[in-house]
């Protein structure tokens, strides 16, 4: 469904601030794969997702989604295939627009926008039905501005919007990190329901090792722009947080060891 081949990305190349963000990353996801992504800060997790979404073009390498080479496609064009939910609940919705207007915008993802009515009567019935599945009472607030909603409500709405048109790939960039624990659990439950229910090919970044292990069928760990660990099926199922932390510190320890060698 999605294939990355030798993706390399530098930021500020040639300057003192040069960052080697992605170091020849190759990754292949089958249709319906639900992959959790972990790694320390600066490991390249968000850069990887941004690269798939098309926020930047890689310095070298190739990105294929659903058989099309999208490496040089701009972000808005890739949106026909790729949907995403950001960490910041404010980024996924339009605050000045109503709930139904936001859903209508999302239900045209990757389609031509013409001079038809923005929100059609038939849409409203469908929106109400979908919103009622969230059990947040939003189905009775179609004409409320989204700016009036709480962060959790907005993130729930964003999940619905991201999947209003079935995406080939769904990207979740720490989409529950900015929410309080109870709301985070609710959104996570909703995520599981949507992703597993619709068998969506998904990449989900998380800082929570527990979530990384219990969710999805595959887990990758990034470190310094490389994929350090790639576990799926049985291997992932048998994983404990302790194993994972060990691997994590092992990777970082190696780095420390080389540093002390250099400095010593």
């Amino acid at each position: 469904m999605i294939t990355l081949t030798d993706i390399v990305k530098y930021f500020h190349k040639g300057s003192v601030n040069e960052v080697f963000a992605l170091n020849k990353i190759s990754l292949h996801l089958e249709e319906g794969d639900f992959v959790t992504v972990i790694g320390s800060n600066g490991a390249g997790k968000s850069t990887l997702l941004n690269g798939i979404a098309g926020t930047f073009s890689p310095d070298s390498g190739k990105i294929e989604v659903d058989g099309s080479d999208v490496t040089r496609w701009p972000e808005y064009r890739r949106a026909a295939l790729v949907a995403r939910v950001f960490q910041d609940p404010l980024l996924g919705t339009c605050p000045a627009a109503t709930i139904e207007q936001n859903l209508a915008l999302a239900s045209l993802r990757g389609k031509r926008r013409g001079l038809g009515r923005g929100v059609k009567a038939a849409d409203r019935i469908r929106f109400r039905e979908e919103l009622s599945r969230l059990q947040l009472g939003l189905e009775d607030r179609l004409l409320d501005k989204v700016g009036l909603l709480s962060g959790g409500q907005r993130q729930a709405l964003t999940m619905l919007m991201a999947t209003a048109v079935r995406p080939k790939v769904l990207l979740l960039d720490e989409h529950i990190a900015a929410l309080d624990p109870k709301t985070a659990e609710q959104i996570l439950g909703l995520t599981k329901e949507i992703v597993e229910g619709q068998k969506l090919t998904t990449l989900m970044i998380t800082h929570n090792m527990n979530h990384a292990i219990t969710f999805g069928n595959r887990l990758i760990m990034l470190h310094q722009g490389r994929i350090l660990l790639d576990l799926s099926g049985e291997k992932k199922a048998g994983l404990t947080v302790k194993d994972l932390l060990e691997q994590f510190y092992h990777a970082q320890g190696e780095e420390l060891a080389t540093d002390s060698l250099l400095l010593g």
């Binding site: 979404a53 949106a79 949907a83 000045a96 915008l105």
Partner: protein, 291 residues
């Protein structure tokens, strides 16, 4: 204030109200401060005046003026979106270039329209005495512009325009080419400003290269006075408020200049004071009530 001064202010408020709608579109809806308008207002006037003196129907000359304004706006928007020049700077560059272009179009600094057919003649021939022909045309054109724009902003494309100003990152991730939307929106805005300029030229009987000076400030004054006095709870209301704000602004200026103390050259100072006053009122109010 005499009744003649009142009618003059009312007419000016209405005709520049169309320009204020254009300014609202960029300044408020697209969050794109656009100074091109100081050049596209006289551009519209120049195109319309030259077209009329060449024998083009005055109504058709308005359409030509709008086309010219749209192109001018497109230039600013392309400089911003494709070449990443800061929007303010890009619009100043276009505005500066338009000064020369306008003189080229008119083959001189101005074109007189005295004795020529204008859009007011048709209404005048129906037997309406002055100042009604002008008022009827201005109200009619403003109403058509308002209705079309409000309709457009509820369409799929129009909703994408609103979202581009509100949350560009989100609407890009939903597959909208925000560069295209900004080019469309800024073009549309300047088409309205040029339409306003063309009507001003036909109204005052001449197009002049310097008639655009201060357009953006007058436009902002109208938008801000309108919002403060009439509110902006819905989009339709905010757009109507821009036109009503424009009328209020011209009446206030007309009243102030009617006082013996002020000279006509004090217009710019008064305008700036008015805009600053309207902009700082909300925060002053807040501070006053907090105590």
């Amino acid at each position: 204030m005499t009744i003649y001064a009142f009618y003059a202010a009312l007419q000016q408020g209405l005709v520049y109200g169309i320009m204020a709608i254009g300014v609202y579109l960029t300044f408020r809806i697209l969050d794109f401060p656009d100074l091109t308008v100081d050049g596209s207002l006289p551009l519209g006037a120049a195109i319309s005046a030259v077209a009329i003196t060449s024998g083009v129907n005055p109504w058709l000359s308005l359409v030509l003026a709008m086309g010219g304004g749209f192109l001018a706006g497109m230039v600013t928007a392309v400089l911003t979106t494709r070449f990443h020049i800061l929007h303010l700077l890009a619009s100043i560059l276009t505005m500066t270039a338009l000064y020369s272009i306008n003189i080229r179009i008119m083959d001189g600094p101005n074109v007189a329209l005295l004795g020529r057919q204008t859009v007011f003649d048709g209404v005048r021939s129906l037997g309406f005495p002055s100042p009604w022909p002008e008022l009827i045309v201005f109200v009619g054109v403003s109403a058509v512009v308002l209705l079309l724009l409000i309709w457009f902003l509820t369409t799929e494309l129009g909703q994408a325009v609103l979202a581009t100003g509100d949350n560009p990152q989100m609407i890009r991730s939903l597959g909208v080419n925000t560069s295209f939307i900004i080019i469309l929106g800024v073009g549309l805005s300047n088409a309205l400003v040029a339409l306003s300029g063309a009507l001003v030229a036909q109204h005052q009987g001449a197009a002049d290269v310097s008639m655009g000076v201060g357009t953006i400030v007058a436009g902002l004054a109208s938008v801000i006075v309108g919002e403060t006095v009439f509110g902006d709870r819905t989009l339709a209301r905010a757009l109507l408020a821009a036109v009503l704000g424009s009328i209020l602004y011209r009446l206030a200026i007309g009243f102030a200049l009617g006082l013996a103390f002020f000279n006509p050259s004090d217009l710019n100072l008064l305008t700036s004071v008015l805009v600053v006053g309207a902009m700082i009122t909300p925060s002053l109010k807040r501070r006053l009530f907090q105590r």
